[in-house]
Amino acid sequence: MADPRLEATDLMVSFPLPGGRALRAVDGVTFRVGAGQILGLVGESGCGKTTAARCMAGLLTPQSGAVRLDGVELGARRSTAQRRAIQMIFQDPYSSLNPRLTVRRMLRELLAVHQLVPRAAMEERCQELMSLVGLPAAALGGLPGQFSGGQRQRIAIARALATEPRVLIADEPVSSLDVSVQATILRLFADLRDRLGLTMIIISHNLAVVRQLSDQVAVMYLGRVVEEGAAGELFGSVRHPYARALLAAAPRLRQRGVARPDLLGEPPSPVDLPSGCRFHPRCPQAADICLTEDPLPRPTRSGSTHIVACHFGADPG
């Protein structure tokens, strides 16, 4: 694609542990999101997706690797304009809003600090933001404690939109919400993408959510991207055994009887990584080469954007 809106190249984030070891939460992650597209980042706990997202949002500094916005590399200390451009929505709506600030004060502060709107027009802009997320103007006077989980999440989205960002990163935006409320938030994201042309990264452990919204999907395991590609193609023809197991394990309404994905045991500790391919101890089709050689990401066919990191992932020949 032409200059992607947001790009991560070889991101590496590690956390020091007592005893001199280090935990590599993100270990060489690369992906691109085109303007106006939604990237779905999928994986289970410990895969590093939240850490990678916080890096992109500028809340964490990677040990190595680069994050680029419209081709421009974002350094460790970002300018205000750069911070404005990428906004994050957090998982827990109950701790992502300052309990002492009314919605109005919170929004106005952002509008004022970035000088986006003259004072006289602030109230109107606040009301616009409320209507963008489907909340009544009366909500502006409320404190977070007065709202439900779904409403708080929408307030958090309004806050993110206040700075007129180019990229929205949503970390498990619907996991803490009731099923019937999830639908609203997901439709809201789709609408924001269509209407405002926002670029988004949606992080979720729920494949259904990711499939709903994403144009591109990247599956992560133990700090690496193991498979990525266009949503339709990836879901249509899953290559990596882990991604396949994830898809098989996803509960389906029409299914009777328990899903038994082809997956052995528990995820290993990220401090004690297996040799060769990280997934080999749990992989149903692990071969000798998997124990010794770490597979590099490769396209499934030449020229394809569907990339998989598995010795057996590509089409033969």
Binding site: R83, F90, S95, P99, H114, E128, A139, Q146, Q151
Partner: protein
Amino acid sequence: MTAGPAAGVPLTDDDQAPIGSRASFGARAVRTPAFVAGVSVTGVIVLLALLAPVIGRYSPVQQNLLATLQGPSAAHWLGTDEFGRDIWSRLLYGGRTDLQVGVLAVLFPFCFGSLLGTLCGYLGGSLDAIVMRVVDVVLAFPFYVLIIALVFFVGEGTHGIFIAFALTDWVVYTRTTRGAALVATSQDWVAAAEGGGLSRRRVLLRHVLPNTISQAIVYAMSDIVLVILAVVTLGYLGLGIQPPAPDWGAMISDGQAFITVHPWLSIIPGIAIIVTGVGLSLIGDGLADLQRPQ
């Protein structure tokens, strides 16, 4: 990028959950028994202290050696002390002095300690490490020993008291607000504020501090009581407010010599101290109840 639909038109017609209501601070305050009781009791005491020039019938230092050690009478509502001074007037003016000193002596530790603690909790790093070690050192000394030594060193009287408390009392505020700041900083809304482009200074002062100060305020109430007690103790030891200015501690100390024949000389100021202490503690309890999330 311009916004979408006109204001007031909902994007989706779903999830019109009603927004919960919130009672104002005042409305909740009057429903909190501890707070109401504390404010009432303390309010009465403060009022009496303020009105001392009006309702005190004599000057607190005016001696009348012809009317010493008298019991309650029409002329002297609570009697007189060994110098013929009116106890009622001394009580009122003593309260004025002690309350003033109590509040003022707490002011600097409260402001400085809370700000420092919040800064430490928010920024962490070497600042946090150094400050916490200093706090540990100060806390290692027994409080009263430190206060007495400082007052002795700096000089008696209110000025010595202020300095002594300024140097020692800030540590508890620092500890308390640091803990609250650590909790707040770990929450996503602080990350969101920083990510939104707000400067760290702004986030600290406008976002984190309001969330940490509430605990400090609750502690400040009981701290005023502690200060008054310390002033009283210093007064008892002769290191506090200097005579002939009235002070409850000095009154207790002076009355000690007469404890067997005229016990009320010491008991009356003692009761005043207790009531004031209880009133302030109730306010502190009430505030703690109010701060708790509903």
